[in-house]
Symmetry: C2
Subunit: 458 residues, 2 copies
């Protein structure tokens, strides 16, 4: 009896040592492959420098659909297909103009229209300004003080959060709801301080949402650079009755047919269990969308390429989805979830990369306790690659609508310090992405996919 | 008996909870201070953009000594002083020129002289080229094949290392000893592939060491950009007898008097126990030395500023040293160590930041087992700031010569992925440093200093 227990223990230990070594070897192979033969950086080069920004409904978004479909087809997958998504078609129009008019002196400041904003009158809009730190403060002032004015939302991102997305979360209501709430109080326009932790001259766009406001009540909304916001605030302290002029020429056209792009490797053992990996193919129009989210797109594609090269055949179906329209509607994410329900699909895992192409630090996870513990038990495998953070939290907008009985969701967490330097701004360009950091992110994702595929979701 | 054990356990736990909370609070205060009121970024702005590169013996190195001394004096320390250091005075001279001459066609390539190199003849130097992957390969070829030739050392950095300094360590012998060894075999010059993991057009300088070679045998040595190296290698495959031309105008002048800059807060309990923190004030001359090592200089200064603002009085003496001449001699580091011995000083701790101003990941440590375990027991305090790595390894060149009976050495480890994109090249400039990342590094260093000061070295 004693001997057999010892034997069993020995066998168990041997097995676990072997299994461990096999995983260690596989992760090493994945990282080596990503760091030496990856395609992701040249894919990003094409997406960013040949195609450029990819706003939903634009010609370039259409080109990006075609390009990534063709590139996925080259990988020899089991299936590459498109999912129809009807997307909004908003166009920025002419370059925006703005100035502070203070005692007869005009000082130009850099602004950009927020996504979905209506235009100003053709000659622009000039009014006096009321500065607030948030929607509550504006509501407390009441419609008498807001009526006929431009509301200037100037609450900055809080620098003390180590995870910069937390600081973003603390400001974003100004951009998403500021115009709607200001319109209700009779404001004629809103100017929002850019969501940027740096002081610089880039205005950062992003969507604004008029909600159920009647269309004739919509007011124009623009972001101002952080330097511009500081200047405006300073000038308002000197002269509360100065005026602000801005001109937006943006326009919303009828919805357009676009697509999610999907590439799939069928599972060798459980073809009905689906692991979905993705990023979003659309981007804002000011830069070329390399960080947001060209990086996530090409990293997701790279996982397929790595597995193909290493001849790793996943047990479960591996599906890469390049979602359309995350930025101003998330219609691609909703369409994917809707089709998953219609087709009665069983998704066990969803992984998104939509936090930039920076050096990876870990994953955020949405999982029950058992699966959270299971995934964190793999931490030691990631240690050699400096991947340490496995935390509960928001994982991704595109995979948000997807629901399944037993699903674990994960979001790649790159280092977040520089992300809001570029986010939704004209400097979100190819040169801001480092090739190795992009590749390390792809390898980190591929490693998690491999482990989830091998050990399953409980 | 039982009760008293429970009581003791209770008291121990209570104490540890209280102690823990006090440290947690102090670290939070340190990070908050660094992220909201730090001076390091504006100091770096001045060092980089007003003063510029700070090669040993240069006018700008002298300016940097004066500037940092004045800034340290503003902090209200107990002592600010200079340590005399005699440094080499090498000057690059005119911009270097180089081309590949292949079948009568000249293709210009970007090169730069290696530090300490001698000049070529005034008209430049033209010879055929022999490409090798390392010194051993060259020696195996023998002097017959090397004589009269330019040796082209083209071993690239290995991309699969996650820590890029490891890849650097695997290549650096080409730069430091390539010219010396090639000269012994009768080569007329050497061209070294830049130590850069990217493909781009920046040549990366760095010191070369002729060792005990007689002066008349010195041969000119230059680095070529990675794109240039690939091109040269490709052209050599087409035509092994092509020629390479390069012209260097560099010159070595007599040694010059310079200084380490030292700022000190006297220890309130153990003034004779010294904790030394530093970076190096000198830099190469191609960029402005923001990453290498302006960042380490201003982060070290920031620690003093944070402690002053938070009114934290260290128990042990805290000394910040801005070392001179790390890049081409390490004479500042040697001088500091020599004076420490002469003055019979007791150093318990040395911390260096000389790996760029990137997002901090942890520390390398040189410590005996007891102290290594002690420091790693503080890991959980660093967890909220995403500082995870505490590893044994090289800590810093400047603190290298310092020896003391019981000393623990530490090196700040920022994320290393981008470091060799800038290292010793013309793009090592202020804009490559992110303010928050710089501040987080300073806070991480200050936190370790606080804990070492409070809990001592065993």
């Amino acid at each position: 009896m004693r001997i057999s227990i010892v034997l069993i223990l020995f066998l168990l230990v041997s097995f676990s040592v072997t299994a461990q070594s096999e995983d260690e070897k596989m992760l090493r192979n994945i990282y080596n492959e990503a760091l030496t033969h990856s395609k992701c950086y040249s894919w990003l080069d094409h997406l960013s420098n040949t195609i450029g920004s990819r706003l939903s409904g634009s010609k370039s978004a259409e080109k990006a659909v075609n390009y990534t479909k063709v590139e996925l087809e080259k990988l020899g997958l089991d299936r590459v297909f498109l999912q129809e998504v009807i997307v909004p078609h908003w166009v920025r129009g002419e370059k925006e103009q703005a100035y502070i008019e203070n005692n007869g002196k005009k000082i130009e400041v850099p602004i950009c229209a927020l996504g979905s904003s209506v235009a100003t009158p053709k000659k622009g809009l000039k009014a006096s300004v009321i500065e607030v730190l948030g929607i509550d403060e504006m509501i407390a002032l009441g419609s008498e003080k807001i009526k006929g004015k431009i509301v200037f939302f100037n609450r900055p991102m809080t620098p003390i959060h180590i995870e910069t997305f937390k600081a973003y979360g603390g400001c974003i209501d100004q951009r998403s709801s500021g115009a709607r709430e200001a319109a209700k109080l009779g404001a004629v326009g809103v100017i929002i301080r850019s969501m940027n932790l740096r002081l610089d001259d880039y205005p950062h766009t992003g969507n604004t949402n008029y909600g159920d406001l009647p269309r004739e009540k919509y007011i124009p909304a623009a972001a101002i650079s952080t330097n511009g916001a500081n200047l405006l605030s300073e000038k308002l302290k000197e002269n509360a009755s100065l005026e602000f002029y801005f001109k937006l020429s943006c326009e919303t056209f009828p919805d357009v047919l676009s697509y999610n792009v999907v590439g799939e490797i069928k599972g060798s053992e459980n073809p009905d269990k689906i692991m979905v990996i993705g990023g979003h193919l659309d981007s804002w129009d000011l830069g070329d969308g390399s960080q947001d989210d060209g990086a996530g797109v090409v990293q997701s594609m790279e996982i397929l390429s790595i597995f193909k090269t290493l001849k790793y055949k996943p047990k479960n179906t591996l599906r890469v989805v390049l979602f359309m329209n995350e930025e101003n509607g998330n219609r691609g994410g909703h369409k994917y979830a809707e089709l998953a329900t219609t087709n009665n699909e069983n998704h066990i895992f969803a992984l998104e990369s939509d936090a930039g192409g920076f050096s990876p630090r870990g994953f955020s996870l949405e999982a029950d306790e058992a699966n959270f513990l299971k995934i964190t038990s793999w931490k030691n495998l990631f240690e050699p690659y400096f991947i340490h953070r496995f935390v509960e939290g928001h994982t991704g907008v595109d995979i948000g609508p997807l629901q399944s009985k037993h699903i674990v969701k994960a979001g790649l967490q790159p280092d977040s310090q520089r992300y809001f330097d570029y986010h939704h701004a004209a400097n979100d360009i190819f040169d801001s992405v480092n090739k190795r950091e992009l590749e390390l992110g792809a390898a980190t994702m591929a490693s998690l996919v491999y482990l989830v595929d091998k050990y399953g979701i409980d």
